[in-house]
């Protein structure tokens, strides 16, 4: 049971695209999580529901919607294409699919983490002359950081295992868009069971270690 050079490339590509996807998610997910936890605004429930849809919708459906949006004739894809940026069936589509599918993980962990921060601390900080911006960066975010980090690790794990949306919007183009999951699928289809099991083992090891790290982060206590 060993990995070929091309398999190592696939593992590296999957890790790299998953990292980029989580980085793309971080700022909007944290901002939205804070808005959901701390503010009352019209349409809050609708936005929260929309942001959670990738968790409950079939990934293939999410992929098809992404293809409609990011394809050459899509809402955003056509505009990007005119700027010389092609998304569908490139590494960008892999990142987009991973980012959309993993977004709810950071959002929900972030929301719970922000809700767990005692609002009294923020109130007292304001009586000490702090602006809302300073309170966010010195009180709220540091106290919510552990929950957000745990969510980000879970999101990364989800991105690593992403299949349904990726295969629709990015395809399975060797050397360009193939990820661990799509490669595993190809190997099974081609009857290369041994190679497929090697990829599955890598998936299991990555998923286990990331979930383990996420649990460690959550359990770690304040000094």
């Amino acid at each position: 049971m060993s990995l070929s050079a091309s398999d190592w490339k696939i593992v590296g590509f999957t890790l790299w695209t998953a990292i980029v996807a989580v980085l793309c998610d971080l700022i909007p997910a944290i901002a939205l999580a804070w808005m959901l936890a701390r503010k009352s605004w019209r349409g809050k429930v609708i936005v929260e529901t929309l942001a959670s849809l990738p968790l409950v919708m079939p990934p293939v459906a999410t992929g098809l919607i992404l293809l409609e949006i990011l394809g050459r004739r899509g809402l955003i894809g056509s505009w990007l294409y005119r700027l010389g940026i092609e998304v569908a069936f490139t590494w960008r589509a892999v990142v987009a699919a991973m980012a959309v599918m993993s977004f709810p993980f950071i959002l929900h962990s972030g929301r719970v983490a922000f809700e767990a921060v005692d609002g009294r601390l923020e109130q007292v900080a304001s009586t000490l002359g702090s602006s809302p911006f300073r309170i966010a960066f010195t009180i709220t975010l540091p106290l919510a950081a552990r929950g957000i980090a745990a969510g980000a690790v879970l999101a990364f794990t989800r991105a690593l295992g992403e299949f349904g949306a990726t295969i629709l919007v990015a395809g399975n183009i060797p050397g360009r868009t193939t990820t661990i999951s799509t490669s595993t699928y190809s190997k099974i289809m081609l009857g290369k069971d041994s190679e497929a099991y090697t990829m599955i083992l890598i998936s299991v090891l990555l998923a286990f270690s990331m979930t383990f790290i996420s649990n460690i982060i959550v359990r770690h206590r304040t000094p």
Partner: protein, 236 residues
Amino acid sequence: MELRGVEVSLGQFHLHADVTFSDGITGLFGASGAGKTTLLEVIAGLRKPDKGQLTSSGQILFDTRRKIFVPARRRTIGYVPQDLALFPHLNVLSNIRYGEKNASTSFSRASFDTICEILEIRKNLYQYPRSLSGGEKQRVAFARALMAGPSFLLLDEPLRGLEHELKEKVLSFLLHIKHEFAIPMLYVTHSPSEVMALCKEVILLDRGRLTGRGKPSDYFLQTDAPVYLLRRDPKS
């Protein structure tokens, strides 16, 4: 500090306050649910009143008719809540210096060294709140509020939950603060003995209404044993 026609409604509970606070420590005495904390939150700028006006040293802090509401961060009113709300991720040093940058020049006397010395917290500076005793936490909360250079200090039952001996000690720290910094304070409590020990004046609050005002000795009887509430209004 003057409140005029201040009204706050929280469901079935209604608070009405028309009162002026003078220098020194004023006790705000009342049973649980009387509205003491609500009144403090209104003064601190943490709760918007439905009606009324609050002025401090001639500056309007809120006036509902003129739609003025100065946010808490611009009021220079120190607030020590019941639960102290120490920042758990910061050590004592970072906690007490949190508001320092915002200290006004009028409080230049209250240097870091003086506050550490008076409150005896120098040995705790690198500890985190979790590892402090109840009395140490209280002193850190006082120090943090003082370091921001408040023009008025609100203390919400600061001795609640402390054992008798520790209460005595923290009371002596409060008296020290009073003498050293001469900051007007509003001291919320439902303990007559604390009022007798600290306050030059007491205001009684009952079910959202201010029902009396005077010297602590007008209301409480000091005996060898605990202090008793004599009457709700000395004029009655």
